[in-house]
């Protein structure tokens, strides 16, 4: 019973992941400039990768037919979801900062830029 619950929970999380994956991809296409696309990419990374990995780890715990190796799957999937949480934000931030400093992408549309006001854009 508990295994069925775990499996269903896992499948739900994976399905949610697919949905956010799609949202992220669509956002990446539709949003106007690099900085706004960053937000969609975050949705793709957290919703689209971390969540399904958590789901897969739950699923693996429940799916007994996978044999004794399923704990390995569950553990590795959970561990990689944790690592992804750390990596995704560092990557996005590094890319955003570098792009801002190098003016590698147009900032418009933007309504207010505190960084330029402070004159720290080049630092």
């Amino acid at each position: 019973m508990i295994s069925l619950l775990l499996v269903i929970l896992g499948l739900t999380l994976i399905a949610i992941g697919v949905f956010f994956d799609f949202v992220g991809a669509l956002g990446l296409l539709r949003l106007p400039n690099f900085y706004t696309r960053l937000h969609a990419a975050t949705a793709g990374a957290i919703g689209g990768a971390v969540v399904p990995m958590l789901g897969a780890s739950l699923l693996a715990l429940g799916a007994e037919y996978l044999g004794p190796q399923r704990f390995f799957l569950a553990g590795a999937a959970f561990a990689s979801s944790i690592l992804l949480m750390i990596l995704a934000q560092a990557g996005s931030h590094a890319l955003a900062r570098a792009t801002y400093i190098s003016q590698g992408a147009p900032l418009e549309p933007i309504e207010y830029d505190a960084l330029r006001e402070r004159g720290r854009g080049g630092s």
Partner: protein, 94 residues
């Protein structure tokens, strides 16, 4: 057996959606327009591919393959850092 059937069915249904979103990512990679956009799209593609690989390993009943999915998720991130380092225009690697 029931459980296996359930899992396989649901996951198989999900695959086309994954493929669609990969296609969208790739369109962004090809379209650009700036380098950062491309890198960002490759990055997201890599993360989602990793998640997809995890799903596949459940689907193909090969739990041992999961570590290689993890490797992809980890090192697509490295591309971000390298490009960021390049763009910041300080000494690269130094």
């Amino acid at each position: 057996m029931e459980l296996e059937y359930l899992v396989s069915t649901v996951l198989t249904i999900l695959i086309p959606f994954y493929l669609t979103s990969f296609l969208l990512y790739i369109i962004r990679v090809v379209k650009g327009p700036t380098l950062s956009d491309r890198v960002l799209a490759v990055d997201s593609l890599g993360y989602d591919l990793a998640a997809f690989m995890v799903v596949l390993s459940v689907l193909l009943k090969a739990p041992l393959m999961i570590v290689s999915a993890l490797a992809l998720a980890l090192w697509v991130y490295a591309l971000d850092i390298y490009v960021a380092k390049y763009l910041e225009a300080r000494e690269m690697g130094g």
